[in-house]
Amino acid sequence: MAAILDRRMLLAGAGASAALPYLGARALAADPLKVGFIYVGPVGDFGYTHAHDVARKKTQDFYGDKIKTNYVENVPEGPDAERVLRQLAQEGNALIFATSFGFMNATAKVAKTLPKVYFEHATGYMRGPNLATYNARFYEGRAVIGTIAGMMSKTGVGGYVASFPIPEVVMGINCFTLAARKVNPKFQTKVLWLSTWYDPAKEADAAKALADQGADIITQHTDSPAPLQVCEQKGLYGFGQASDMSSIAPKAHLTAIVDNWAPYYIGRVKAVMDNTWKTGDTWWGLKQDTVQIAPYNPAMPDNVKKAADDVKNAIIAGTLHPVTGPVSDNKGTQRLKDGEKATDEMLEKMDWYVEGVQS
């Protein structure tokens, strides 16, 4: 009340000068906190970048006019990222989310030169006093869809459209295959590497090639719905990546691993507002609702739905770890003894494939 009164008095008192009270009012209303995002793909990719942008919008809606979010999409992973990050900082963004692994070196470099701006880098491992990292346990979702794939596949061959052989992707392939082989011990996963996160034409070609090699269920660690569209045409099954893609392939889309970044973004914005922001490494999963499983396709039999739910609930309850021994790699070396669980460190450095993966 007092503040409003002050403002009125200021406005009325200034009289002759129009600019001065305007500035005063502005200062009292406090400028919105500017929050920037850089994306590796287009916001319309229906997948990974789309999921980040949905979270950005939710964060904007949550805080209303207290914050102003903005983004730059399709930023190449390299020096362009460095330039765009610096540009966002110069435009007054106090908190900047760099949402792809390949932005790591650029973010680390810029964060060092701009100590007053808070940076958040997704899926990386470089941290600093003003550079935090965050990631989601997507591999938990992979265990759920792997279970579904193992039960739904008739040929016992799954196709995997993959981007780069980094630990993030490798652990997904392994969890998918481990879960599928739990329900069908003969299940094989064929992997094709594309060296890109987003290239609908390449992704579609890869899905076709995998189908030709006998895969009747296809999943992906690339960001466009193109592989799902191929499944829809060929009458195969597939899964959405990062976002619910059922609208694009209603028959083929069994479910999707949905990335829900909003809780994290909202929390980090609050931390900046409260001046309590601290660096760190956050790795949330199904339990924290950062990884979600989209509604199941009605075509899925009830026993498959139940098996998938059981895996999901066991992971949430903490009674099941997707990578539990005995686990051997595809060259025959034993990696985990009976009952031994993979540590986070092991997952973060994973560079071997479990039995059943043909890469």
Binding site: P76, R83, R86, G102, I166, V170
Partner: protein
């Protein structure tokens, strides 16, 4: 009555230089209309793309850094285009230049010395030239069109890059990420201005532009290139070898693309990654034509293209313009330039309509 294009006997010098300006003006105008119809503030967006970066001094280093590889590649291409040698594969030569230089960097890892960086740059020149030598030899020995072979070799270069960064050159401490080690201080093109990406390679580009201008306008070799391009018959009568010109211009354009690749790789990336190629080799073709195949024109054309890149990122945050607008703007520039050139070389006349066809 119908419209008829009639070749002009001599096109005016003024029209020749006014054409790129007209093309940019038409691009801006069309962009305004297009973006307005797409629901954006069209005029503001176009202002942000073409003008805003020029008004903000903190964006100038960004423009210079972005223009540098474009100008260096386009300078080489322009020399070839003048002689009717169509090297479309500068992107491939750019990649191989970076690969060759990185090879030196990895071989001299842990070695200090002033000679390391020059050796890397030399390797870049040799690598790019060697890659361009293949289409040159195919053309003079087997009469294969260099347009096709140089373009296709780009994809070979890309696969070579992927193979190296995933296999033999992968950083042993890089968590299996497909990228080489970071270059050491001795292997990095030094920075020119703290807090920006501005580096010495930008000055190297200016030197290259000067040398190209000198050679093309003041030496016999330059004259030979121009004559072969303008009047092949006269060149033959005059004793200028067409084959020699093909090889020479291909090697020069390849060498400059290779050098640009190595400078970019060392100065801004600091390592070789799969994300290294960003189509500068193709964009440089637009730059060469925008610059009227003249070294100084290329410099201006490169700055214009670079401004549109930087400006498009500004328009993304300020006007929420999608990133695809960048590609649209660049394509329009080339389209309008080629269109305007038709009117520079021809005059439009009204001619009687052809009502009867003689048989």
């Amino acid at each position: 009555m119908r419209l008829k294009l009639e070749p002009r006997k001599a096109s005016s010098r003024l029209a020749l230089y006014a054409a790129p300006v007209a093309a940019i003006a038409l691009t801006m105008l069309t962009g305004m209309v297009l973006f307005t119809f797409m629901g954006f503030r069209g005029a503001t967006a176009v202002f942000e793309i073409f003008i805003q970066p020029l008004l903000q001094p903190e964006r100038w280093p960004d423009i210079a850094v972005k223009a540098s590889p474009l100008v260096m590649i386009a300078t080489g291409l322009a020399i070839g285009f003048r002689a009717n040698v169509w090297n479309i594969g500068a992107e491939g030569q750019y990649i191989v230049g970076a690969i060759a230089g990185t090879g030196v960097a990895l071989a001299t890892y842990d070695t200090e010395g002033w000679w390391v960086l020059p050796l890397m740059l030399l390797a870049g020149i040799v690598g790019g030239a060697a890659w361009a030598a293949i289409p040159a030899l195919l053309r003079i020995r087997l009469r294969v069109s260099e347009i096709l072979t140089s373009l296709m070799l780009t994809y070979v270069a890309l696969q070579l890059l992927y193979y190296l960064v995933r296999g033999p050159w992968r950083d042993p401490e890089g968590y299996n990420f497909p990228q080489t080690r970071m270059f050491s201080e001795a292997q990095t093109v030094p920075n020119l201005l703290e807090g920006t990406q501005l580096h010495w390679g930008v000055l190297l580009t200016l030197v290259v532009v000067f040398i190209a201008w000198f050679v093309m306008s003041r030496t016999l070799s330059g004259y030979q290139v121009r004559v072969v391009g303008l009047a092949p018959m006269a060149a033959r009568l005059g004793g200028f070898s067409e084959n020699r010109t093909v090889v020479m211009t291909m090697l020069v354009s390849g060498a400059l693309a290779g050098l640009a690749g190595m400078v970019e790789c060392s100065a801004t990336f600091g390592q070789l990654t799969p994300q290294f190629p960003v189509n500068y080799g193709f964009t440089a073709i637009i730059v060469a034509f925008l610059g009227r195949l003249h070294p100084v024109g290329v410099l201006i054309g490169g700055l214009a293209l670079a401004t549109s890149y930087i400006g498009a990122d500004i328009a993304q945050t300020a006007s929420s313009l999608p990133q695809a607008a960048t590609g649209l703007i660049q394509a329009m520039m080339l389209f309008f330039l080629l269109g305007v050139d038709i009117f520079v070389a021809n005059r439009v006349r009204l001619a009687p309509s052809l009502t009867q066809h003689a048989s």
